[in-house]
């Protein structure tokens, strides 16, 4: 597969996107002010397209960052339990019925705290691992994910039927939005992550070789790693609290882009962002095309694609 095919497929699916969905858009009236078609397009389809794009791009970037920092293609915010932490945080906020804390959405704040404390926990726990046992970090992430799932079960157990339904729907991941508020919020943190990675791309390239190499060349690796992890868990926490967990994008996209581009990480930042964006948009378009009646949640779709892909990665890693 080369770059051209990749982009062609993604662009075609992206262009189809506004026209996929249960309500059919009428081309004749789409440019008429306040027509039904125009309102569907501007208030439902367009924000959703932008949301899918920004979310896909951000998840791809966070995946690229984690893989580079831990120097392992299986390490992503999703596989290390960071998304799981955000889901649990958001679940707690929903259960407690919290809406606003200091003017910030409580679900977002708790989502961020869940993601951030998972990152901190991983940093502390990884001190007890020998360098050669880096893969154990992945096991720690999986153990944390199990723990979070069980904790969420406890919340389900304690919740009323409606609360349970809300949290349950949330854990499936969804890109359904009305209006532009979520899009703007996620874009802000996404832009922050993108800017950080771009301006620190040469430091990231040194880190992708090894921690030691980066230190030897004068990078303050500890400080920079904490900055990277802080900003990315902020972006992931806010994102997950608004869309629910959408898994495996961070695993698939950097791998795909690396394979197609065959370039070092410093040249992959924008390609990963754009391919991630278009990929999730394409997935979302597909779910809307194949859905009958009620929509299949996007998180379910990406997990259905990502699960087998994860197995493929593990097997191909073993054989190489």
């Amino acid at each position: 597969m080369n770059k051209l095919y990749l982009w062609l497929v993604l662009l075609i699916l992206a262009l189809l996107s506004p026209f996929a969905g249960t309500a059919t858009l009428d081309f004749g009236t789409i440019f008429e002010a306040n027509s039904l078609s125009q309102r569907i397009f501007l208030e439902l389809r367009l924000p959703r397209i932008l949301l899918a794009f920004v979310v896909g791009g951000t998840l791809g970037l966070a995946g690229l960052l984690f893989q580079t920092l831990f120097r392992n293609s299986l390490m992503t915010p999703f596989t290390l339990g960071v998304s799981g932490g955000a889901v649990l945080g958001a679940g707690i906020a929903i259960k407690l019925g919290l809406t606003l804390i200091f003017g910030i959405s409580a679900v977002s704040l708790f989502g961020f705290l869940g993601a951030f404390s998972t990152v901190l926990l991983l940093i502390v726990l990884s001190r007890y691992l020998k360098k050669a046992e880096q893969e154990s970090l992945l096991l720690l992430g999986i153990a944390l994910s199990f723990f979070y799932t069980s904790a969420l079960m406890v919340i389900f157990y304690l919740s009323s039927f409606t609360e349970t339904a809300t949290i349950m729907r949330f854990t499936m991941g969804s890109l359904s939005v009305v209006g532009y508020e979520s899009v703007l919020t996620i874009s802000l943190f996404s832009a922050l992550l993108l800017a950080l990675l771009y301006f620190k791309r040469f430091e990231l390239q040194l880190l992708s070789i090894s921690d030691e190499q980066a230190s030897l060349k004068g990078v303050n690796t500890k400080q920079l790693t904490y900055l990277f992890l802080g900003v990315s868990s902020l972006a992931i926490g806010v994102l997950v609290s608004l869309t629910g967990p959408i898994g495996f994008i961070g695993l698939i996209i950097p791998h795909m882009v690396r394979k197609v581009y065959q370039r070092p990480v410093s040249s992959l930042i924008f390609p990963v962002f754009f391919v991630g964006g278009f990929f999730l948009l394409a997935c979302d378009t597909l779910t809307r095309v194949i859905s009958i009646g009620s929509e299949i949640p996007i998180g379910v779709v990406t997990a259905l694609i990502g699960g087998p892909f994860f197995i493929y990665l593990i097997i191909s890693k073993q054989s190489s």
Binding site: T68, R71, N72, F199, F202, Q205, L206, S208, I209, S210, E212, Q213, S215, L216, K217, G218, V219, N220, R258, Y261, Q262, R263, P264, V265
Partner: protein, 244 residues
């Protein structure tokens, strides 16, 4: 470089205790496996915290900002380890220019010229477009040296440079090393007694957490035998282990 009362710990255990030495031109560090040679090398590069003093020029090593330290000390590992496999040799060597690059800016034309000079100095221009994973061990070692040279540090620390090389590549490496020794201060960590004897630098022998400096006369069979605790022989001026 002047090292005084140096203590280095690793994972809460003291690896080196009360190490003292001064490097005038070159130094060779010898010692058994696990004696702490690499730990010492890492401390000298500023990768590990230490107690005591490592004086570099007029500065204390731990007080130098990382970038300034990198302008003065370069470390060449025995093996190239990289998660990233799609980096080309040229890009990899360019990373050696990182300490000299203005922050937030791209590498300059001058940086790229220095990379080209360094590659031709080592006669490996033809490797420039190749990816790291396609290199042989010998080529990797030369590329690592090229990166350290691009760094333009005054002190080069080689950590077991010949341990992965075949005789031909070892000979090539030693030829390059000889040239470098004219303009750089070098520290060589090795198990290769024959190479160490050939270079005939002052030897720092590390044993039981301590180090002893031999300004000369280390490469005598009786002294070697005593240091390593096995028998060495000298046949026609060629030092070697006496296998039993």
């Amino acid at each position: 470089m002047i090292v005084k009362n140096l203590n280095v710990s690793y994972d809460d255990t003291t690896v080196l205790e009360n190490i003292n030495f001064t490097i005038k031109e070159h130094l060779c560090i010898l010692g058994s496996n696990g004696s702490g040679k690499s730990t010492l090398a890492k401390a000298l590069c500023g990768l590990l915290p230490y107690e005591g003093s490592i004086q570099l020029e007029v500065y204390e090593l731990s007080e130098l900002p990382p970038i300034e330290r990198a302008k003065r000390v370069a470390y060449i590992p025995s093996k190239m380890e990289s998660f990233e496999q799609f980096t080309t040799v040229e890009e990899f060597v360019l990373l050696g220019r990182y300490p000299h690059k203005a922050s937030f800016k791209n590498y300059s034309i001058e940086d790229k010229n220095i990379v080209r000079e360094v590659l031709s100095e080592l006669s490996i221009n033809e490797l420039a477009p190749l990816r790291l994973h396609s290199l042989s061990s010998g080529q990797q070692q030369l590329v690592l040296i090229a990166q350290a040279l691009a760094q333009k540090s005054t002190l080069l620390i080689f950590d077991e440079p010949t341990s992965n090389l075949d005789p031909k590549n070892t000979a090539l490496f030693v030829k390059e090393l000889q040239k470098l020794r004219e303009s750089f201060t070098t520290i060589l960590i090795t198990h290769d007694i024959q190479l160490a004897a050939y270079l005939n630098d002052p030897v720092l022998f590390i044993q039981d957490k301590n180090a002893k400096l031999y300004e000369e006369d280390f490469f005598k069979t009786d002294r070697l035998s005593q240091a390593y605790g096995i028998n060495f022989k000298n046949e026609n001026g060629l030092l070697g282990i006496h296998y039993e």
